[in-house]
Symmetry: C2
């Protein structure tokens, strides 16, 4: 799998990443929210032992225990989509196993004992599923999962019972957003059992015009069906976004160019930028890259900036706690230097 941030995607691509997440629980152990710290740490040992049992994968992974880190370090993982907010909340008793490429993350003591996620660049759900499936098999060699013949995998939340799988795709939908068509997209999605969330998962505001589309239920359909349905829906949305872009370029060419080039101009010159504005401006520039107006900035730069400008990631590079203004200053400096160093 290719790391979606550094991945060498086509500039035309509207999809940033594809993710498969499997929820699993260990038989005869209570769900994480019913476990105290000691018992939780036992679960971590059990899962890690099962995972590392196969010695040939060991060197490519590291284990991270959230209670051993400061809160800023933990937040940087969240900002990179490597862990969930729930895992962060459980930081006194949660951990995760991460591969070197940062494409695989096995969260322990999130809502379920195990939340295994595989993230890859572009629209590539099949590949992500294959890897997730192999790792799931590997775990199962040494673990007994809570499983019901009729229902499937048993999970803490009923919406995950069944396959325990959530497939999701992260897309950049700037013109559907600007044109106020996201509401329509949401309506269609809910009718076909899908859901859409913002850049940072459940309940997060839609910022930077980046959305995550995923299946809402994991019961009653096979993994393959879930993936195929999602792929079909995502392709439809991509076509809608492309159509809107074409229409806007016909009716409002100068306005679109103005938006794109102004955003690039501001990012190259601003001295203070807040976390919301930077995502909007990066979305404008990304649109320019995707539409071929800007040719010297590639997608990996856009993705790197998307994450490196997040507050905890910025804060992490400094020893002292920064004020909000210092964070804004360093955010602007980082973006300015990066974009001005190009060509």
């Amino acid at each position: 799998m290719e790391n979606w941030i550094k991945g060498n995607l086509s500039n035309k691509d509207i999809v940033l990443s594809s993710r498969i997440r499997l929820a699993r629980n260990i038989k005869d152990i209570k769900f994480p929210h019913n476990l105290d710290e000691d018992k939780s740490k036992e679960v971590i040992d059990i899962v890690e032992n099962a995972f590392y049992y196969s010695s040939d994968i060991k060197h490519n992974y590291k284990s991270i225990r959230l209670w051993e880190n400061d809160s800023i370090t933990n937040r940087t993982y969240l900002e990179k989509h490597l862990i969930s907010n729930k895992l962060l909340i459980n930081n006194k008793k949660s951990a995760f196993i991460l591969n070197n490429e940062e494409t695989i993350s096995l969260m322990i003591n999130e809502e379920d004992h195990i939340r295994l996620q595989c993230i890859t660049a572009g629209l590539n759900l099949g590949e992500a599923y294959n890897i997730a499936n192999k790792l799931d098999d590997l775990l199962e060699e040494n673990l007994k999962y809570a499983f019901d013949e009729k229902l499937g995998y048993i999970t803490a939340c009923p919406t995950n019972i069944g396959t325990g799988m959530r497939a999701s795709v992260m897309l950049h939908l700037p013109t559907l957003t600007i044109n106020n068509q996201i509401g329509e997209v949401l309506n269609v999605l809910s009718q076909v059992g899908m859901t859409m969330r913002g850049l940072y998962g459940e309940g997060s505001k839609t910022i930077g015009r980046i959305y995550q589309i995923s299946n809402q239920l994991s019961l009653g359909l096979s993994e393959e069906e879930i993936i195929n349905n999602l792929k079909a829906v995502v392709n439809q949305i991509i076509n809608q976004e492309k159509l809107t872009r074409d229409k806007l370029m016909e009716s409002h060419k100068y306005e679109i160019e103005d938006r794109v080039y102004r955003a690039l101009g501001i990012l190259k010159s601003a001295v203070l930028i807040d976390s919301f504005e930077v995502l909007t401006l990066l979305s404008d520039v990304r649109l320019g890259v995707e539409m071929g107006m800007i040719n010297n900035v590639d997608k990996s730069i856009m993705n790197t900036l998307l994450l490196d400008t997040q507050t905890a990631t910025l804060q992490k590079t400094y020893k002292d706690k920064l004020t909000e203004k210092e964070i804004q200053f360093n955010r602007a400096k980082l973006v300015r230097e990066k974009l001005n160093s190009i060509n």
Copy 2:
């Protein structure tokens, strides 16, 4: 006198230009608003003959009859501050004499028969007055002015009776504007018999944070007193503006830099800019030039852009009538190309 637009002023200067305007009327001829077109054109002949009588200045001047021009050409003179709105309204029967350097403009059939104005770069009222005074003497050799021993020069509007002189200074007051201190300045000015208007004279909105300060009355004071009073008041306002800049740099250094560099970034990249926004952005960049943040853009470039981006001046360079969007496009293009060609 130095043309204020091209003038090589110090970048630190807050004053753009100084102007002396003398109102004069010819004895025994009715004021312009009571004259028909034929009689008005006779006045034009009388004034031109008196002016050109001294043959050694002839080659440096041209006469422009407003009714011979299209309305866009006439508006470009207004945008350059070479004629007044009133002269433009009287375009069926008004004219003006302009020198090659565009520092002297003698308007005929404005509110009075003669409105002689001398505009020079920087705070230089004395020089402008000396030139105006000489030209006034030259005219008087061949014209009989309407003059009353007690009142002084007789004018159409009572506020101009006396010296018939209005002295005015154009200044850039960005931080007083941003800090909402312009109201205070206005209060003080009205207490000392001065008035403040926007970039385009009486009743014009204050745009681009550029103001014209002038004496309100011309009766009861000598020309020298009017000039000295105005100079004193202007110097006080300059100090206030400088003080505000220093204070802001102490308390909001990053915010000021952000404003300046963003404006420059936007002007270098925008594809559409309207006439109001361009003046605000140019004011931000001008502030940066005046404060030494931007060193490669000099004042003459700022002044040229200030005028060249005005609607009629832009329109004038194209044969066909442009739509509002085309004007915005060409305005942005002009600014972009000019600023990107520097350094």
